[in-house]
Amino acid sequence: MASIALSRPATTAPRAVTRATGESRVVRWTLITVALVFLALTLLLPLTLVFAQALSKGFAAYLDAIKEPDALSAAKLTLLVASIAVPINLVFGVAAAWCITKFQFWGKHVLITLIDLPFAVSPVISGMIFVLLFGAHGWFGTWLLDHDIKIIFAVPGIVLATTFVTAPFVARELIPLMQEQGCEEEEAAIVLGAGGWQTFFRVTLPNIKWGLLYGLILCNARAMGEFGAVSVVSGHIRGETNTLPLHVEILYNEYAFAASFAVASVLTLLALVTLVLKTLVEWRQQRASAERKESVDSSERIAA
């Protein structure tokens, strides 16, 4: 699921291929065939395989695998973690993007780099960081034990790891958008007497809503699908600290292939829903930016 994360919507439609940049028919069809074969092998085949394997023992077995208590509890935990991590990143992402694009301050570039950190390090290391901090032998381990607070091998650790891994999505999506929009509208609002919150809710938010939604969808997809970091901090306690991706792995390791793929198919469906939503939002966003571009173009035309 992480593979969809880094693709971002093109803000301007590419120019149509002209005679000068076009290729001959043979070259064109060869390239298209290669691309299609590659897609079929790497995307469609595994996707079909997931569903084929999931349904290999019949639909009843498929349903049983999903309704099994451990699977249900894993699904619940996944939803719980996402419902905490996504709002945290919503607030953090918007705040960070707002700071970076609307103000000049010392250490701005450091902040921009830090936001990218979770993308740069391996998820396993992200998980290890939290184990080192909060694990039994970690920095705060003794103190946490004394006060009977469980973070590692418990839900708080999973939430922390997930939040960390998904932190960049919203901010990364908003920063270029808000940079492009500048702060003239905000200045106009403040001159007209609007306060900070009024300016944010009435001017800034409506301008970034599609980009924000796009970032949230990606953030959510990753939060539900995260494996590496969560695997390190979870402890794999069935019915307690297992999320859906971890549950899939456990079932697979136990040679319960059909059940494993059944649960995997749920995650796959989630991915497909995410893709559809993402496409919808991208389409809206492109329309919004086309409108914006058009308005700029027409004013330039007037100026010309």
Partner: protein, 353 residues
């Protein structure tokens, strides 16, 4: 509401945007801040609005110190060069914004808001477009919406940053006259920034000419145009020719010719420049006195009532421009290559430092 700016200073990194700028705008006047880009005029406007803090100096509205007053309490109307309309709101909502964000106890009722907004929209002749989005308007219409929006909060002063900068020449001219009329109607103290001298001279009551973060001169359009205080103002307002020479005892010696400069009676062989407007150049077929300079016609643009000539000065080796009435041009029978004698009629001399 008068505006007073005292000893303002603003520095961006190494760049001095404003260097000890003082300025007075009497209540009800329409003042133009005129200058080339980088002269600090927009920075000055933004500091008056409170959008930018000053490094030193103070701003006074109607005698009261407003230097530390937050933007939203200053009650200024600001019109941005690129309009800065709220793109997701209709024209009506854009204009209504300033009223809607007021605290509940001072917020007008829905009906009052509607009446105020529609009143302003008909003032800027856009009432039929109230439901449109900004992206559906032309540049001129957008600028009028921006103006109506600024006026909706009944500002004490109206500040306009290059209000017509992004518009084409024809729309600009229309809007210019329209702004003049609007100002006569609402009579709010207004300051607008422009780099277009024609715009500044035509629209404003007073012009403040800025250069490199300083005020070069301020006065009525007639004053600054007819009596430029510095070489910069001379060069910036209107077309001007430069004659380099030496100033000596009330005269400027340019080769063998001499121009009268009575205000330099005490000068002793000083390097100087004589500034002469393109229309203050007399042409004659023969040498007519000490101030005559020999020239050859280089280029003629003979359309309209004024003929523009480019003349190569024989002695100085420089080229000057002369604007002569068509009748005079015809009687002199000038063409490319014709020899002619040039006498400047109105000369202003500045010494070179």
């Amino acid at each position: 509401m008068s505006i007073e700016v005292r000893n303002l200073r603003k520095v961006f990194g190494d760049f001095v945007a404003l260097d000890d700028v003082s300025l007075q705008v009497p209540g009800g006047e329409l003042v133009a801040l005129l200058g080339p880009s980088g002269s600090g005029k927009t920075t000055l406007l933004r500091i008056i609005a409170g959008l930018e803090p000053a490094d030193a100096g103070s701003i006074h509205f109607h005698g009261e110190d407003a230097t530390d007053q937050p933007v939203r309490e200053r009650q200024v109307g600001f019109v941005f060069q690129h309009y800065a309309l709220f793109r997701h709101m209709s024209v009506f909502e854009n204009v209504a914004f300033g009223l809607r964000v007021r605290p509940r106890r001072v917020r007008p009722s829905e009906k009052e808001i509607h009446d105020t907004v529609m009143g302003l929209l008909s003032l800027v002749q856009l009432d039929v477009l109230a439901k449109r989005r900004p992206s559906e308007l032309s540049g001129g219409q957008r600028q009028r919406v921006a103006l109506a929006r600024a006026l909706a909060v009944k500002p004490k002063v109206l500040l306009l940053d290059e209000p017509f900068g992004a518009l084409d020449a024809k729309v600009r001219k229309e809007l210019r006259r329209w702004l003049r009329r609007l100002h006569e109607e609402v009579h709010v103290t207004s300051v607008f920034v422009t780099h277009d001298q024609e715009e500044a001279l035509e629209v404003s009551d007073r012009v403040v000419i800025m250069n490199q973060g300083r005020v070069e001169q301020s006065g009525t359009p007639e004053e600054v145009y007819e009596r430029p205080a510095t070489p910069f103002v001379y060069g910036f307002l209107g077309d001007v020719n430069l004659f380099h020479g030496r100033i000596h005892e009330g005269r400027v010696n340019i080769g063998e010719s001499q121009l009268e400069a009575p205000e330099w009676a005490d000068a002793r062989d000083q390097e100087g420049v004589a500034y002469v407007r393109t229309y203050d150049v007399e042409l004659a077929p023969a040498r007519s006195g000490a101030s005559s300079l020999e020239a050859v016609v280089r280029h003629v643009r003979a359309f309209g009532p004024i003929v523009r000539l480019e003349l190569d000065l024989v002695e100085a080796g420089t080229t000057i421009e002369a604007h002569v009435p068509r009748a005079r041009f015809d009687s002199l029978a000038l063409a490319k290559g014709t020899r002619v004698y040039v006498s400047p009629t109105n000369v202003r001399v500045f010494a070179l430092q």
